[in-house]
């Protein structure tokens, strides 16, 4: 298998998992208006859950890494467990967002939740192996030829994306979608006509979290490892940039935004000529570009590349 073919597979898996995550974040942030800066925690929940469900008990590998639980569940069950964990964490995060706070206070509270989760996981080694993270996470079809196995995995991610997109469309189109946008645009008016804001928000948090959990589980199975470095709070910023660049609230827009940010920008910087001898400079550059792009879009084109289509209603206005 050539290096380029392998790279293509990596890109496809990254794109698929990033799409799932960006859709989930868009559902929460773009469609419902919850500025969830802790979104990455749902992805981490999915990844860790998948790892624990497939690694088996710690003693089976000679206790070289510590974690709670440990089972040998088949791949689909483990991914589902990850999805479920993402949904639960999503709801927990959502609970902090229920209080009628100023939007910016809410965003900060969520940012802190994200930092706090990372600090606790890093400090408490017996829980999820602390700073080192979990390794040797099994991937499916490991009995197959590596090349076939990798392409099969791309297929699984593609299937997950289709399922995820169908789930997303359930929430963004039709009556539910209109209700959610109403909650985002005028919470009080929506409540006044009898919409249960609390339940709606929590359902969306669960759905968004489930997408995040799926993304995390699929990513962890592909990479084979998962550590706190993979879910620093800046990772949420990357997804948020994808949502803002693509167009908040627009499913197709966010998909384009994810491609632009995750593939063109974050992978693109890898191909820059080596500027200095220091390793990691290009990754730093990636974050600089990412932050700058976010600011430029909020300044010049807050509606994104492909803006959300505003529904037109009949009648005089």
């Amino acid at each position: 298998m050539g290096g380029w073919e392998y790279y293509l597979i990596v890109l496809l898996v990254y794109l698929g998992t990033d799409l799932l995550a960006a859709w989930g974040l868009n559902l929460e942030f773009g469609v419902t208006g919850v500025a969830n800066l802790a979104y990455i925690v749902t992805i981490a929940a999915g990844a860790y859950t998948y790892a624990i469900c497939t690694l088996g008990p710690p003693a089976a590998t000679g206790n070289f890494q510590q974690y709670v639980g440990g089972f040998y569940l088949p791949f689909p069950v483990a991914v589902l467990a990850g999805v479920l964990a993402g949904a639960v964490v999503g709801i927990l995060i959502g609970l902090t967002g229920l209080k009628r706070l100023r939007q910016d206070y809410q965003a900060i509270a969520m940012l802190v939740v994200s930092l706090m989760a990372a600090t606790v996981v890093m400090a408490d080694t017996p829980f999820l192996n602390g700073n080192a993270g979990l390794g040797l996470i099994p991937a499916p079809f490991s009995d197959q030829d590596p090349e076939i196995q990798r392409w099969l995995y791309v297929g699984i991610v593609a299937v997950a994306c289709v399922v995820g997109y169908l789930l997303l469309r359930r929430f963004t189109t039709g009556p539910i979608g209109r209700t959610l946008r109403a909650v985002r645009d005028d919470e009080y008016a929506a409540a006044a006509i009898g919409k249960d804001i609390v339940v709606l928000r929590l359902v969306v948090q669960a759905a968004g979290g489930a997408l995040g959990g799926a993304s995390g589980a699929l990513l962890a199975a592909f990479i084979g490892g998962w550590s706190p470095g993979a879910w620093a709070y800046v990772e949420t910023l990357a997804l948020l940039t994808a949502v803002i660049v693509g167009g908040m609230g627009s499913d197709r827009g966010v998909s384009i935004g994810t491609f632009v940010i995750a593939i063109l920008v974050l992978q693109g910087v890898q191909f820059l000529p080596q500027i200095s001898f220091r390793i990691g400079l290009r990754e730093d550059l990636g974050w600089i570009v990412l932050g700058t792009v976010t600011i430029l879009f909020i300044w010049f084109r807050p509606q994104g590349i492909l803006p959300e289509r505003r529904p037109k209603y009949g009648g005089s206005s």
Binding site: L101, D104, Y105, A109, T241, L285, L290, G291, T292, P302
Partner: protein, 295 residues
Amino acid sequence: MQLLIEAIGFGIASGAVIALGAVGFSVQFGMSNVLNITYGSLMTLGAYIGLVLTDRGVNVWISLAIAGVVVGAVSVGFHRWLLAPLVRRGTRAFAIVIVTVSAGVVLQYVIVAFAGPDAKSYGEQSGQTFYLLGVVLTASQVAIIVLAAVLMLGLHLLLTRTTLGRAMRATASNRVLAQSCGIATDRISDIAWMLSGMLCGAAGVALAITTVSFDFTLGPIFLIPMIAAAVLGGIGQPYGAMLGGLVVGIASELAAAYTNPAYREVVAFGILVVMLLVRPNGLFGAAWATRRLMA
């Protein structure tokens, strides 16, 4: 008992630094009603400016002053050319938070690109130590506590005894009214952001002096205790922020002394989340000062 006293002593030392930063943060917020997350990275910038200067043999306290002025100027520019125009256009509050988070990330990685990711240090500070009520504090820790106290007193006098201070308070409490009284509110904003930026830069250098070594995550890590202190004392209220700084500092050191040291930050995180959710007006709420900040 000794553990308790030591924890409180260290708590006061770190609380002084937190208070420096928190007061600056509070002044910005009170003036512009913007939660400026970039503040953390500006602190890092201050610490690295201090590093460049001390490496060239400049005295550490002069470096602190210079870093303060530079960060103050950067902070004014950041507000005048980026945040203020966005606020004027009516950009939504969470979009502004995202802008400040992004700007913070950009600044942080620009610093890494130039200075590299490894830990830095200002080198050995003067070895003299002081024994106060059974607590051992280094000379620089004592100096920072004194410095913080002096700066707080200065800010207090500025805000209450001078025309400029009155104009600042007037602008913070009602911008339109202040403008119609003939106060040049844009210039007052600039001055407030200058002052808060100076406190921010000074806090960055002070933090770098007290922590033995630091890297580019210095500011962002420290930002949360600072916001926690500012919110605890009632956001936008400098005196509350001073008290909040001490409370957060002591609480964090107690947690570090009696549980896992890694939980030092978690205490501040917890205080902040609980305060934001339960009492976003601060511990003393409306009774402490005029409540004008809550939308």
